[in-house]
Subunit: 146 residues, 2 copies
């Protein structure tokens, strides 16, 4: 089993949370790392192959989320989709297809990103609310459904 720099970072992070970087958790991470957008437990289960029962998969997702390795997104009813946290994957946004529901990652050029950040800060300063993250999602029709 190859240990990438990603694996090393995650291993360290999990140890800080008294958790182990086990086979099941690695499978989840590597599948997500090779993915072009957030994936649900069901999708991961299908991608990984049924080597791992769903209940264990859910537990892996919970541990990885608590340790800050994964972040959940809720774009569809009753389904959580996970992706690697920003410190592992970099900051980005999402394109959500209104037709097929697929979610695609979208990395903005530096200049755009700065404009989004500015906007969030300015807005935050005008309301009694302390911004932590921003989610800038563009909903529309993806190329496949066009």
């Amino acid at each position: 089993m190859t240990t990438t720099s990603l694996d090393r970072k995650i291993d360290t992070r999990l140890k800080e949370h008294d958790a182990r970087y086990t086979r099941g958790r690695r499978l989840v991470v590597t599948t997500l790392a090779g993915s072009d957008g957030p994936k649900s437990a069901g999708e991961l289960h299908a991608d990984i192959g049924s080597t791992i029962p769903l209940s264990s998969l859910y537990r892996s997702l919970a541990v990885l989320e608590e340790s800050g390795v994964l972040v959940p997104h809720f774009t569809k009813l009753g389904v959580a989709r996970y992706e690697l946290a920003e410190w592992l994957q970099g900051h980005h946004h999402h394109l959500v297809c209104l037709h097929c529901g697929a979610v695609e990652d979208l990395a903005l050029p530096q200049s755009y990103e700065e404009r989004v950040r500015e906007l969030v800060e300015e807005i935050g300063s005008t309301v009694s609310f302390t911004p932590v993250n921003h989610a800038f999602e563009i909903e529309g029709i993806c190329s496949r459904c066009a």
Copy 2:
């Protein structure tokens, strides 16, 4: 029962979809109209009082969504929150509290809104994706949880 201009618009819209603007549906709409952010079926059920069984409430939400009166949002696992569509309530964004999960509406000043729109258009033109909506959510800590 007072019939507002909102009610009239909705009544018309529902008729176009061969649906009636019934007591239960009115209750949902007026509750949402008096709300400061999207509400889930459970929250609506609590707010309205248990005059209406949950199953009927869900059916009302489904009809109102299909007719374009309500729009669902999915910010939390397993829970859909609804609000009046933009043509009834106006365009706005959301502040999502990471601590208590509450969602608050946020109307941006014209100048900000233009900047968001510009950004979406520019981004849309650089990817093979046709933007329809944009959801610009700011996640953070609300004043109550601060």
